[in-house]
């Protein structure tokens, strides 16, 4: 099974994600430059974090127009799991694959700190190994990480069980403390925190198991899990 890691000009967590997929979870991962197309044999797509196009205009908006996004969209329509982390989430939102927007943090500053996530939806390809309300210690690192959606959208999200992760406490002022959402079908997931920074105990000052479940969920989804 093959996981595509999409690289945009300015992506900077691509190598971290690749390391985790290959060295930690023994997956077959491959980089794809944003101008390329995606081959048919891809089983999952990951948009890593970073500052695509220097976050100019708005985080994610320029990358959302990259040629490869059309292929990501096609894959997502086929039900293939797609995960956007941080800037990847911003790109998914700006390209309309996920609802809502990500605004500047209330502090107006970049924020790099550890926080707790709460799993709201454990039915997605990236959360199927969690219990509902399970906690995940995980770091955030973003300047535009405040999830916002208007009331109608929020209502819809709740009804459809599209809120995947919430923060344990209010870190940046996001609507309903939302940290991650999915599309209506549940196969496209976006999250602001960085699971790839939390799955190795060596660099995780708290507990690396919960974050690992995000990737183990993917393995299970693909039928290669334990």
């Amino acid at each position: 099974m093959k996981v595509a890691v999409i690289v945009f000009p300015g992506s900077n967590c691509d190598r971290d994600m690749y390391h985790v997929l290959t060295d930690v979870f023994d997956l077959d991962a491959q980089y794809f430059w944003h101008e390329k197309g995606l081959p048919k044999n891809i089983d999952a797509v990951i948009l890593p974090g970073g500052f695509s196009y220097g976050d100019r205009l708005r985080a994610g908006v320029i990358a959302a127009h990259s040629p490869i996004i059309k292929d990501v969209q096609k894959m997502s329509e086929k039900g293939i799991p797609v995960l956007g982390v941080c800037n990847g989430f911003q790109i998914l939102v700006e390209s309309g694959l996920l609802p809502g927007v990500l605004l500047k943090n209330e502090s107006l500053n970049f924020m790099c700190e550890w926080t707790d996530l709460v799993v709201e939806n454990n039915k997605t390809p990236f959360t199927n190994q969690f219990k509902k309300n399970e906690k995940i210690p995980i770091p955030i690192a973003n300047g535009e990480g405040r999830y916002f959606a208007d009331d109608d959208t929020l209502k819809h999200l709740k009804k459809n069980n599209q809120i995947v992760f919430r923060y344990g406490n209010s870190v940046n002022g996001s609507s309903n403390q939302i940290a991650g959402v999915c599309n209506e079908d549940g196969n496209v997931v976006g999250m602001m925190p960085h699971p790839e920074r939390a799955v190795e105990s060596e660099i995780n000052p708290k507990d690396s198991k919960p974050s690992s479940l995000i990737f183990e969920s993917l393995l299970t989804e693909m039928g290669v899990g334990n």
Binding site: L57, R58, V61, A64, H65, E94, G100, V101, L103, K104, E106, L108, F148, A149, D150, T153, G173
Partner: protein
């Protein structure tokens, strides 16, 4: 064809919070000076230089660009477009 300067102002829709404007206002309030200011709103501006046949064409072209390319995010912001002849 003529050259036009088109100003695009992107700002939050009414009802959407604007921490940046508020912070600057708070700074003023905190310092206790300049009490005559009652509101500050932060916005972003893009100045386009564009060649089109007339003002209207310039206006609608830039409007298209803004919509097409999502120069603004319609969920939270609105744009105002002003065209100036060179």
């Amino acid at each position: 064809m003529a050259t036009f300067n088109v100003h695009v102002i992107i700002e939050n829709k009414p009802g959407i919070s604007d921490p940046e404007g508020e912070t600057i206002l708070n700074d003023l309030v905190l310092k206790g000076t300049h009490k005559t200011v009652s509101k500050i709103k932060a916005a972003k501006m893009l100045k386009f230089t564009i060649r089109e046949k007339d003002k209207d064409a310039a206006q609608s072209k830039v409007q298209d660009i803004c919509d097409d390319l999502r120069i603004y995010n319609p969920m939270v912001s609105k744009v105002t477009i002003q065209v100036f002849e060179e």
